[in-house]
Symmetry: C2
Subunit: 325 residues, 2 copies
């Protein structure tokens, strides 16, 4: 099996690649070829013995997408994209990367005339306030950011290309991935991870929004599980609606901080400093608070049961079980 990962140098891309290499197979088929692309060349994953291609490529550039699918990968994980904050501050870049890049990939597949499985990471940012108390799977697409708009458009394209038989698509709307390891990125949602990650590492974290802000989270570990599970679903299981809201833990920022206190103690939780940021507050205020995600749960997608579990997953996966006290 030949697998292509776009956005392979990103956090999810690296974790997915590592997992694919460790598993050695996908859907019961041996992985003998990996193509990893990103705007910067992805690192070579350790331990892979099959045929490996690493490429620095921007899918929105002419010809780049055609080159990416020239080897006719059986499964494509399309993770590449500009994050929410950057898509809001750089209008043209957001549309170029998130819309033209995705459309370019789908078009390249159509023109190559074969039918790969395409797993696309969408976002709950496709939904926009005002919301019901829990957002059903059939809720209107009314994004309130350019990022959410680009993801919603990509979902529509994925569904139409699937319906027309050009590819076999599945779009998974990720909740905020938390706790993101490493450095902060430009996502407006970055603080949700920062207020956990930094204190656990002995550093101060800034909180730009009120503690009453409610949001839905899943760990990076859960996100990788979503991606692999999405790749295993058949067209029959998915039916006509190929874009799905993923499950997650819905909690307030205050509840996140309480969970941190329970898991790591008062001293760690005291490392959060309140510094309101208007742009972040405005962006976040339009985001989904709670999703039903019934279809995804019925199809076997699994997230954590509590935010405590999300923090523990971070301590296990990123900190070797150690917290800076």
């Amino acid at each position: 099996m030949h697998i292509l990962v776009t956005g392979a140098a990103g956090m999810i891309g690296r974790k997915l690649t590592a997992r694919l290499v460790r598993d050695g197979q996908l859907n019961g088929q041996k992985i003998d070829r990996l193509t990893l692309i990103d705007v910067v060349a992805p690192d070579k994953p350790g331990g892979f013995t099959g045929f490996l291609e690493l490429s620095a490529s921007d899918l929105s550039n002419p010809g780049a997408a055609a080159k990416a699918v020239a080897g006719k990968p059986d499964v494509i994980f399309h993770l590449a994209g500009v994050v929410s904050g950057e898509a809001e501050t750089d209008f043209e870049k957001g549309y170029r990367v998130n819309l033209d890049g995705t459309r370019g990939l789908l078009e390249a597949i159509r023109v190559a005339d074969y039918k790969p499985k395409v797993v696309f990471t969408s976002s709950i940012a496709v939904f926009g306030a005002p919301f019901p108390s829990s957002i059903p799977d059939d809720f209107h697409l009314t994004p309130l950011t350019s990022y959410g708009t680009q993801k919603a458009i990509s979902e529509l394209l994925l569904a139409d290309y699937t319906r027309r038989g050009f590819l076999d698509g599945v779009g998974i709307r990720l909740p905020t991935i938390c706790v993101r390891p490493g450095k902060p990125n430009k996502a407006a949602s970055g603080f949700f991870s920062g207020i956990i990650r930094e204190p656990l590492a002995g550093q101060e974290a800034l909180l730009p929004v009120a503690e009453t802000v409610r949001h839905t989270h899943a760990s990076p570990r859960a996100a990788i599980g979503f991606l692999l599970h999405a790749a295993s679903l058949t067209r029959q299981q998915l039916g006509g609606r190929v874009n799905l809201s993923m499950p997650g833990v819905s909690c307030t920022v205050g509840e996140q901080i309480e969970a941190l206190r329970r898991v790591a103690g008062d001293k760690v939780a005291a490392r959060i400093r309140r510094v309101p940021d208007e742009l972040v507050q405005r962006i976040v205020s339009g985001w989904a608070e709670r999703l039903d995600a019934r279809r995804a749960r019925d199809l076997g997608f699994q997230a954590e049961d509590s935010f405590d579990d999300i923090i523990r997953a971070h301590i296990e996966d990123e900190l070797d079980g150690k917290v800076a006290n």
Copy 2:
């Protein structure tokens, strides 16, 4: 006031232009300039004394959209598009005209750096089965045709460009416009008009679907009313959700035929011949049967009350009150 109409040579475009010329004003402002564009040059409207530009232009061609908005029209009625049947049979043309053309227009406005009112004709084809018994305004966008996908994407773009302050957009989801005058077009919905228009003109009409098919209709006269009313709405009235399902008359094909019998008699209604068409049946089966359209009604949009009224509007507006018996 300067008004631009795209798709001005089409049925709705011609009727809208005639109405604008007759009214001489829009929103209380004198219309002193009209720009009419279409892929074929629109006819010169009779009786207009202001500055008139007629242009044969395809908005998806490079530079065409910039040229179209070079005169900075205050109000743009963006009607141009490929119809549903053609977008389904010619995938590339549908995306080029309906997506790239619309995006090109919005981008040209953004780059021209002014803020016109943009009234966009979307379609109830943005919705796809399975449906609830009446589709609420916040129902999921799950189009089941490429045409519906292109309209849904255009709606999302219109909303984002409006939110960003590049223009002042309103998208109106037209139900099927019935009775369309003139020759049949390539829309899969064409028979809804054909089974009324042809018999009233003394000709046989083909019915490609079952009489149980339910659908929502509004007359061309109502559609022009929607367009003008949409142009009068303020940003405050519209709020964040700028795309609206229009009201209409929901009835079955059987009820259409009964209305024809009531309005024009048995002899006219007997001119319908049943000839099932699989492609049309498949496309139509995914379409909305009934829409709530509460927001639009609350905002003052008005459609007919019965299909009888729709037939009578056709006889008055197109047949000088005369039916071929």
